[in-house]
Amino acid sequence: MSDTSRDERRTERAIAVALVLSAITALGLAVTYATGGQVQLEGFLLGLSLGTMGWALCAWGKHLLPPGPFVQQRQHPAEADPEQEPVSRLVDEATGEASTLPGGGTDTEGLDAVGRRPFLVKLLVGAAGALGVAALFPIRSLGPDPGRTLFRTSWRKGARLVTEEGRLVRAGELEVGSVLTVFPEGHIGEADAQTLLIRATEDDLRTRPGREDWAPRGQVAYSKVCTHAGCPVGLYQVESRRLLCPCHQSLFDVIDGARPVFGPASRSLPQLALDVDDDGYLIARGDYDEAIGPGFWERP
């Protein structure tokens, strides 16, 4: 017996073992499924079944078949078929650019039969273009006109502040250093209206001119939508009194008008003017005085 045939026998045996193993694990998979299923076991058995099958086929292809290498000649696509004309010539003919056919003479039934009516061809192109434009219009139905919607939120003059659970917020209930996510009453969960209510000490706040009465007793409210890419600015670092956006790590200084002090954001978080109503609840003095959230082209 020669070495080669002994090697081949060995490979054959190994492949046979692998295929049997593949079948057994496949049956195991069926049993696992029938008895209620188990994720890890399913993945393991399926992997094993597929893996042994794959190995068997690869080994078969590699060791038990004529190994080659085999040689095949290449041809340049244009030379592959000597009879074949270049497409460019066909196009020339079809459009009437080539005045004569390769065989010589003109042929009314040839490729240029359409191109011989240039006026009609022009009309055809025009009509097809108009149809194409008409076909684009339904895209407009996909969404509403942005209009001024990006400049507005649901905050209105006198809107009471409510928490995510729908509880009204009483003035002074928030302790110094705490933070609360609030919405206008009746609009809980609205993405663009989400606002952070933070209690700072009045003396600390560096109030901007014109905003002197926006933060009664150190209760200051900023839009929670990051001015960078729109994530909720969710992390309040109490000691440094900074807001951190967890998405791209922009830092906003709560004391200094939520000015961006680090990271990719470039604009302060808009501030919501607050007031206290007669019942002692916190209310808004109106909507934000600028568009909240990330920038967009129409924003002045």
Binding site: Y33, Q40, L41, E42, G43, F44, L46, G47, L48, L50, G51, M53, G54, W55, L57, C58, W60, G61, K62, L65, P66, P67, G68, P69, F70, V71, Q72, Q73, R74, H76, P77, I139, G143, P144, D145, P146, E164, A191, K224, H228, A229, G230, C231, G234, L235, P246, C247, S250, L251, P260, G263, P264, A265, S266, G293, P294, G295, F296, W297, R299
Partner: protein, 484 residues
């Protein structure tokens, strides 16, 4: 049995007359090299994505309608969530084999993108994109873009906290497109974020539109490979005018199908044993909530990193704003893919080499400049990728996020040129060394049984397309395919 098959063959042959094509097809020669299998991994991952994906569509409900959860996963019982999130939980925990299918689907997507990226790298560094293959380079790059888009769309479907945050950022990037940004965002989402229709639209995009486009382009991609024949590395008997390797039938087909099973096996093992995207830990999406360590799937990491590293430059002029995210979110991808798509033409312009066809591949070291540029560019995107994890890295290594971000900004600007230069020098030196393969002595047994020692293929390495003087071409090249 065989008679039935023969009769069926005859039946089809009488109607289609395909025997000639089938014969050439079965005898078609494919060169063997491990790096030529990267594209195959991508192809097989796509097949797996389709198979597992179809299964998932039978259970997933692409709807933002709010429901109260009452399923098998105890920690979320009683929580309000969208049907999309609820049905994902259900297909994971209550549908038998659902979890394995969903995790295999996600792992296959990760592998799909990885295989494409490495495949693009292989094609780039070996110069396989050169004339006449520029067209297929463009098709391949389009496949990369479509695959990324579809990966992101699929990742966004379950409406969990993490994917919702990703969508929010995508919406902001759409807003930042100059002139028509707000319109693009509103038409895409169907209104202001978070619009009601986004999940059902993404579903159609994810299971129909993009897969169809990918399938079509895959067909074109492989048809062009078939037509132009595969490239090959230099070697004995290999010239610009031939292909040396295995025939499609039987050995290449068997190995290839076997390889499909192996790729599936790895995906199945990962799908069963390695947890991926555990959406039940993130919770359902709430617009006002966000979790720390918000990161996209790996192939979007470079964009997220760019959003973190780019300084807050927001330009306001003439009553308009160019948003800060425009530069990393719109301009950077546009330039990146522009350069990627255009590379064959850029290179041809500078090397002025595209006057003839190239079928023999470059070794990376033979093209120091291209290889240097390639490694430099890869470094750039790798830095961006790791920058997407600054918050996690800061926590793990207990350093300040701010310091880390500054370090990453410096690395982003300094590392790529350094890596490019080092690669360039290394290639130059490696190219100057004697070629191992060419220098290695080769013992040849002649027809009469005598042994002759020669030196590789110094006699004419075949690379220039000239026949070898010593007639070694015929040795080991086996029977011509048309002899079978």
């Amino acid at each position: 049995m065989t008679r039935t098959i023969k009769r069926a063959n005859r039946w089809f042959d009488d109607r289609l007359g395909a025997s000639g094509f089938v014969r050439t097809a079965l005898n078609k020669v494919f060169p063997d090299h491990w790096s030529f299998m990267l594209g195959e991994i991508a192809l097989y991952s796509f097949l797996l994505l389709v198979l597992t994906g179809i299964y998932l569509t039978f259970f997933f409900q692409p709807s933002l309608k709010e429901v109260v959860y009452d399923g098998a996963y105890a920690p979320l019982k009683g929580v309000e969530m969208s049907q999309a999130y609820e049905s994902t939980l259900r297909l994971s925990y209550e549908v038998r084999a659902g979890m394995v299918m969903r995790q295999m689907h996600h792992w296959a997507a990760i592998i799909f993108l990885a295989a494409i990226v490495v495949h693009v790298g292989r094609v780039f560094f070996t110069g396989a994109f050169r004339r006449p293959r520029e067209l297929n380079w463009i098709v391949g790059c389009s496949l990369l873009v479509l695959a990324m888009a579809n990966g992101f769309a699929g990742y966004s479907l379950p409406d969990d906290q993490l994917s919702g945050t990703g969508l929010r950022i995508a919406y902001s990037i759409a807003l930042s497109i100059p002139l028509g940004g707000t319109w693009v965002a509103y038409l895409l989402f169907g209104g202001e974020f978070p619009a009601e229709s986004i999940i059902s639209r993404l579903f159609v995009i994810h299971v129909l539109l993009l897969p169809l486009a990918i399938l079509g382009l895959l067909g074109v991609h492989m048809a062009i490979v078939w037509r132009q024949k595969h490239t090959q590395f230099r070697g004995p008997g290999k010239t610009e005018d031939n292909v040396v390797g295995s025939r499609l039938w039987p050995s290449y087909a068997l190995k290839s199908v076997g390889f499909f099973f192996l790729v599936s096996a790895v995906t199945a093992l990962l799908g069963g044993l390695a947890q991926v995207n555990p959406i039940w830990l993130y919770g359902p999406f709430r617009a006002a909530d966000v979790s720390a360590a918000s990161q996209p799937d790996w192939y979007v990491g470079w964009l997220d990193g760019a959003l973190r590293l780019f300084p807050g430059w927001e330009i306001r002029a003439f009553g308009h704003t160019i948003p800060a995210v425009f530069f990393p979110g719109v301009l950077l991808p546009t330039v990146s893919f522009g350069l990627l798509f255009g590379w064959p033409f850029i290179e041809a312009r500078f090397t002025k080499e595209d006057v003839r066809d190239h079928h023999l591949l470059d070794r990376p070291r033979e093209r120091p400049l291209r290889t240097g540029i390639g490694t430099g560019v890869i470094t750039f995107y790798v830095v961006l990728f790791f920058a997407a994890a600054t918050d996690v890295l800061a926590t793990v290594f207990d350093v300040s996020v701010t310091g880390l971000l500054v370090a990453f900004r410096v690395a982003l600007l300094c590392l790529p040129p350094v890596v490019a230069f080092v690669t360039y020098r290394l290639c130059k030196e490696a190219a100057a060394l004697p070629d191992e393969e060419d220098a290695a002595p080769v013992v040849v047994r002649t027809a009469s049984g005598a042994y002759v020692t020669g030196h590789g293929h110094q006699a004419g390495n075949g690379g220039d397309g000239t026949p070898r003087a010593d007639g070694l071409d015929e040795i080991g090249s086996g029977p011509r395919p048309d002899a079978h």
